[in-house]
Symmetry: C2
Subunit: 470 residues, 2 copies
């Protein structure tokens, strides 16, 4: 057989070229091999080196994805799914070359089921566009990682973001997936029923698998009614500890906050400058309350009482939509606001997540590390979940600076693990955090993950070199 012969006699690069030839015949202009496009499809928002694929295929339908996967399976060539390129740990790099499947043209909203509060979308739909389309129907999809990520990418990294404290993460909001498997078959992981006990939870296995088990080509998402009333607030605190303790008290007392975000004083200063705010430059919580008019007021009042007991406040409220937008834009622009802090340096965002009882301690130790190592690294966090980010300004071309940055990130993860936390709350493993899989999970659990990968992708063609090495 031609393929078997090809496989045994050709190098990986030659096989990749054979795949490209076959795909050009099948998919024509959708196959692009120019270096600029290939480099743009390898990782751009990370400190990791750019490792471009051998070609990019702009898929327009499930059949296109199947064609790519089948060709790659026949020649045992890597295939890497690409959504919007907003991942942060090298998820879309192509360390072994192969074919990148760009899913951004698969951006149709296939169904919005208002009675069932769900929708079915293609993976290239971005979260902002989805919400624009849903608005007229009084519905929204709450997950908000800041960047205008694609829904497929959000599912693949088990994304969460600012609203997760109330609405959960992608794990909680994906009802079902359509997936192209490593042999090019299409499966559906679940029905549209809200819950099921019918067999292994394939949905949750693909969510967060970063394209290493299959390529997501359709997502059924839970939706929510746009709340009748929304109110945002900014509340300053004398210390990170006071802010974190207020968060704990808020969650414990059952106030259903929709967002509760920490900005440390360094970040507040940066945001003041970037977003032209006039906030007190002290640890600050940004909050949002969703509900009825009455309940939103009640939530805000109760939060205010808890904050005051711990020396926080008074809160400044933003009730008008445009005021709220400005506030959350400032929060989302945290990444950009940090760039002027060290001109010429690259901003490297990293995240960890700890049990909330250890959050203040973890943030404070991290801030001490930042200071002692002479780094610039503001802290922002989805503190209701115990999840925080530091945006480290690194001169990646200076080996000493880069080494220091890597040491800092290693210490950050080790600190989180020592406190019973995880190496990443929402960014994912990609290439950047593979080295922490063993300390986090232990050899036996890691071996189970490897056995799953081997069973589901025996040729190791799906985004190889990410999450687990087999």
């Amino acid at each position: 057989m031609v393929v078997a012969a090809a496989k045994s006699e050709l190098t990986l690069l030659e096989r990749s070229f054979a795949v490209i030839e076959r795909l050009k015949a099948e998919l024509d202009h959708k196959v692009v091999t120019g270096l600029a496009v290939r480099e743009q499809h390898a990782n751009v928002t990370t400190y990791l080196p750019n490792e471009p694929p051998d070609a990019v295929v702009f898929a327009e339908c499930t059949q296109d994805v199947q064609a790519v996967v089948r060709a790659c399976a026949d020649y045992e060539v890597p295939v890497i799914a690409w959504g919007a390129g907003t991942s942060l740990e090298g998820h879309v790099n192509a360390p072994f070359g192969g074919i990148c499947v760009d899913l951004s043209r698969m951006n149709r909203i296939l169904a919005v089921n208002t009675e069932d509060l769900d929708c079915v979308v293609e993976p290239g739909v971005t979260r902002k566009r989805l919400n624009e389309e849903l608005r007229d129907q009084g519905l929204f999809f709450p997950l908000d990682p800041g960047a205008d990520a694609s829904i497929g990418g959000m599912a693949s990294t088990r994304c969460s973001g600012t609203n997760a404290v109330r609405y959960g993460t992608m794990k909680d909001n994906v009802l079902s997936l359509k997936v192209v498997t490593p042999t090019g078959e299409v499966i559906t992981t679940a029905t549209r029923a809200r819950k099921s006990s019918a067999g292994y939870d394939l949905t949750r296995l693909y969510v967060g698998a970063e394209g290493t088990l299959g390529i997501i080509v359709e997502i059924t998402l839970k939706l929510y009614g746009i709340p009748e009333a929304v109110s945002a607030a900014v509340c300053p605190f004398p210390s990170v500890e006071a802010a974190c303790n207020t968060v704990i008290a808020t969650i414990q007392s059952g106030i259903p906050v929709a967002r509760i975000e920490l900005l440390d004083e360094v970040q507040v200063k940066a945001s003041n400058a970037y977003a032209k705010l006039a906030l007190a430059e002290t640890p600050t919580l940004f909050l949002e309350f969703h509900g009825t008019e009455t309940s939103v007021h009640e939530q805000a009042d109760r939060f205010g009482e808890l904050a005051a007991e711990l020396g926080g406040g008074p809160s400044v409220f933003a009730v008008k939509p445009e005021e709220r937008t400005k506030l959350w834009q400032a929060r989302h622009d945290a990444y950009w606001s940090v760039l002027p802090l060290r001109p010429g340096a690259k901003a490297v965002a990293t995240d960890v997540c700890v049990p909330i009882s250890r959050l203040a301690e973890c943030v404070m130790e991290t801030k001490r590390d930042i200071e002692e190592m002479g780094l610039v690294a503001p802290i922002v966090g989805h503190v209701g979940d115990g999840n925080f980010h530091t945006t480290l300004m690194v001169d990646v071309d200076d080996p000493e600076d880069f080494a220091k940055a890597k040491l800092y990130m290693k210490r950050l993860v080790e600190r989180a693990l020592a406190m019973g936390g995880t190496s990443t709350g929402e960014h994912g493993i990609g290439q950047g955090k593979m080295k922490y899989m063993l300390p986090e999970h232990g050899e036996e659990a890691l071996e189970i993950m490897r056995s799953i990968k081997r069973a589901m992708d025996p040729k190791n063609i799906m985004n190889p070199g990410k999450i687990v090495a087999i």
Copy 2:
């Protein structure tokens, strides 16, 4: 090697006896082989025939479970985990014999972390006892399947129950698991962090796996603060359709109802007789609202308005704890209340779950089927999730009656699948619903589940003959 020799030369039953001898030497009085105990550990709450294991081991610690699994692995003998025996689809039957591990003595609450709103428990802790222990700390674990199930069993069947509409299912409320793998190793699936993107979601893979991939020996659960105010209500409706449409409107308008349960008129009549209630014998919703005093009133008022628009109401409220308890006891006693409807018959509970937009239609078609087939089968449902149960009264000793019951259940599942639903919302697959795995998931997805089972349990010793056959 002794074991290898044993394996090749001995029958399964002989190997099982060899395991029992070894375990008696290791675990002494914890190993029980009397028929009564063995039969009591095979399924008792189902229409399926009782298939007892060859022995029951009353495990008292993780090491005991490891000892059983290692012995069973060495001799390739089945091992079946047992919690409280409340499963409904033959999950704990032993069709190939082997060893049942009774986990009911592993019933310690290992930690309650009030700041983190979580706890760590052994699998034999029952949900009622857990809540008794938590009450003094102002916390509760909301999942409530009616029966006083064990937490390990609830995790293994991906249980949900009456509170799932607000608080989610076990999938959403298990943070981490400690699992004895088929080789007798112990792994931890996740940290106590509220969320993580670090690799494959092993937690969600074991939740709902019904003991076919490993035995859960420790569960970390999310907890919630006991709501400041709780109010329950009973609301009669002119039709099932009106009740279902009110549920849809309630969910759509974002009323965070904690429970919303449908009882059809047959069930209301049975419950009136059994629980000495005086409800109008018409389709009825039982509801519960959780929140602050203000918000509970507001929720109830808004629900009342929606119900009235669809011809429902007026609601009768139960605010005092003892009134509420009586109401929910009546709901939970639905199973028992049905027994007098056909004396001598066995009550067979089955469940399906459909997108909520199809619920009224599915319930009505099912009621028509019940009538046309001349069956007795009241309907109750967790209608906020689109999940409903019928309790079919069957004379299992009458072949004709039994055949009719099986036909009815087959038609029920086929109806749910045709409406985009699932063969089981919360009871699980066990033995009873294995035949629906193929129509529900399709051959390719089912083959992926089989490949996972083969990879994780290559000797097929973990609860074989359940979920998937390999």
